[in-house]
């Protein structure tokens, strides 16, 4: 865990309201693991006051990259920062994805909107492991990602995943591209294929209701399932108990016990969408 002033190497719009920022942060990049996050101070001033948490999208060669959506004051200020400016970052933080490196089960990633960010880091890591395995021996199924978006224009990172050799399926609410409907509806439809359900390993990030649906499917079909959650955060390191989510045995801190949880750790009955706000403060 480090607190550093990281220089901005670029900060560009990717699609409407979504940006990618690259930061020079060798110590943070070195220690980062898929699913972890950094806590960024978006302004030196006091309004907004608090840091904002962002999943790490990429970490290598001394840089970390964040893919973020402008949803409020903090992210708006971040989007207006220029190359060469510095931002105060704290990270890497939290517990990331536990990768089952046998890769015997087929990996399925489900991304809702900006929730795709930590899944890209995860996919890069998975593909490295997979390449090694393939050299060693037999056939290993390629990971699949289901990218959910409102419409064609809001699809994030389709090409990036294709470049990693991940199989990509698209689901849009209006049907302008790919499957018409939610990513979870498409995901659920896969279970009609015989054998599919007994052999998947699922990782997902996106809106809370999407995660809840996936968790319910994981109970029904019994597949391993890890979900990256979001919550309003204070300290980011587990001290203030501000960012909790209801777990099976009491509250869990999203910043320290998560943000990635096994679907079974969460008490989904106790989770209502009003307990979460996906907008930035």
């Amino acid at each position: 865990m480090h607190q550093i002033k990281a220089k901005i190497l670029y900060n560009q719009k990717v699609i409407e309201k979504c940006y990618k920022i690259s930061l020079h942060a060798p110590e943070v990049a070195q220690e980062s693991y898929p699913g972890q996050f950094v806590h960024i101070r978006c302004t030196e001033g006091y309004n907004p006051l608090m840091r904002r948490p962002f999943s790490i999208y990429k970490a290598d060669k001394g840089k970390i990259e964040i893919l973020y959506k402008v949803v409020g004051k903090g992210t708006h200020l971040l989007s207006s920062k220029r190359i060469g400016e510095k931002v105060d970052i704290l990270g890497p933080l939290g517990r990331g994805f536990k990768i089952n490196s046998s890769l015997v089960r087929r990996v399925v990633l489900v991304a809702g909107g900006i929730g795709i960010a930590p899944l890209y880091f995860l996919a890069s890591k998975l593909m490295k492991i997979l390449e090694k395995k393939q050299k060693e021996k037999n056939f290993i199924p390629l990971p699949l990602i289901i990218i959910g978006a409102e419409n064609e224009k809001k699809i994030l990172e389709e090409e990036a995943f294709k470049a990693l050799m991940v199989e990509v399926k698209i689901a849009t609410d209006d049907g302008s591209k790919g499957f018409k409907g939610k990513a979870t509806d498409f995901f659920a439809s896969l279970f009609l294929i015989p054998k599919f359900l007994s052999s998947v390993d699922v990782y997902a990030c996106g809106p809370l209701l999407m995660l809840k649906k996936i968790a319910n499917l994981s109970y029904k079909y019994g597949f391993p399932c890890q979900l990256s959650l979001e919550q309003k955060m204070g300290c980011g390191i587990g001290a203030c108990l501000g960012c909790v989510v209801k777990g099976r045995n009491g509250y869990l801190r999203v910043c320290k016990d998560g943000p990635v949880f096994d679907a079974r750790e969460i008490d989904w009955n106790g989770v209502r969408s009003s307990n979460f706000t996906q907008r930035d403060f």
Binding site: Q3, L49, M50, A239, C240, G250, Y251, N275, F276
Partner: protein, 307 residues
């Protein structure tokens, strides 16, 4: 802890190496922050409030940001005093800084039992008596708004423990001086001023309160002027040492509290914004003393120039 005579301060029998503490509830039990900063450089730590029984805390969301402020409604989540002693205290015990354990309860008896349970432990320098939390149904700041209750609680606690008692007051009263006076008469050794201001915020899109608990406690720069005023009022009338807190983000903020009458200050919400704040403030106070040619920060306490 580096010896620095110019920053030393004794408050209610506790000798602090410097006047910069961290405020209760913002620093957990120290372990998390130890990975990020050198805790022994702090004047002292006020722990998260400990209660007799474990408390689950409030329904999320527990945080909501407002302009220059933070609303929280954690609800005193803590593992209870027994687990605190077993799993949290050993870490604190090893530190080379002053340890103030914050205690909270639903009634007087809870505070007395907590005091007694903690009184056997080596390494606690004092208790902060939290009678000012706005986020719990029972006890909480209701206890801290009634002078008679404050007097009786402090007096009773003083009878059962030898620890210096620092009573943390709520700003959610008409006359803070009256409450401070009651704490003093009960036997308080010092006062912590102020806890959070009771507030709320509403999401107009969903028409829902932004906090799961509906209301919460406001902290951060937004409340600083209220805190400074209360420190000043209590300093003039009560004559107990004061640990000042409420929105301190910078050296200048800390100096305002000291000039108003605080003998030490505590950093709370600013720890979340920049964990280096306590050290920046400590260094800043040192620089201010040098710049002004003042040998000792104690000479500054309460020296606001009214005329």
């Amino acid at each position: 802890m580096k010896e620095d005579e110019s920053l030393r301060i004794e408050i209610g029998g506790i000798n602090f190496g410097n006047p910069v503490l961290v405020a209760g509830g913002t620093f957990g039990f120290g372990e998390e922050y130890s990975q990020l900063i050198d805790i022994n450089e702090l004047g002292g730590i006020v722990t998260k409030t400990v209660t007799m029984e474990p408390r689950e805390g409030n329904l999320p969301p527990r945080l909501a940001e407002t302009p220059c402020g933070l609303l929280n409604a954690i609800g005193l989540e803590n593992p209870g005093v027994e687990v605190f002693i077993k799993t949290k205290f050993p870490f604190l015990q090893k530190l080379n800084t002053r340890i103030i354990v914050s205690i909270g309860g639903e009634d007087e008896e809870d505070y007395f039992h907590l005091g007694q349970r903690l009184s056997h432990l080596e390494g606690i320098d004092g208790l902060e008596v939290n009678i000012s939390c706005p986020n719990v149904l029972k006890g909480g700041f209701i206890l801290g708004t009634k002078p008679k209750l404050v007097f009786s609680l402090v007096k009773g606690l003083k009878n059962v423990v030898d620890f210096p008692l620092i009573v943390k007051l709520t700003p959610n009263v008409t006359d803070i001086v009256e409450i401070a006076q009651a704490a003093k008469e009960g036997g308080a050794d010092a006062l912590s001023l102020i806890n959070t201001l009771w507030g709320m915020a509403i999401d107009v899109e969903t028409r829902k309160p932004k906090l799961g608990n509906i209301t919460g406690g406001l902290s951060g720069p937004a409340i600083k002027p209220v805190a400074v005023r209360m420190v000043w009022q209590v300093f003039q009338k009560v004559g107990l040492p004061i640990i000042g807190m409420g929105g301190i983000m910078s050296t200048e903020d800390a100096l305002e509290f000291i000039l108003a009458g605080a003998s030490a200050i505590a950093i709370g919400t600013a720890n979340f914004v920049d964990p280096q704040t306590p050290f920046k403030v400590k260094e800043g106070i040192r620089e201010y003393l040098n710049k002004k040619g003042i040998g000792n920060f104690r000479e500054l306490i309460g020296t606001i120039n009214i005329n």
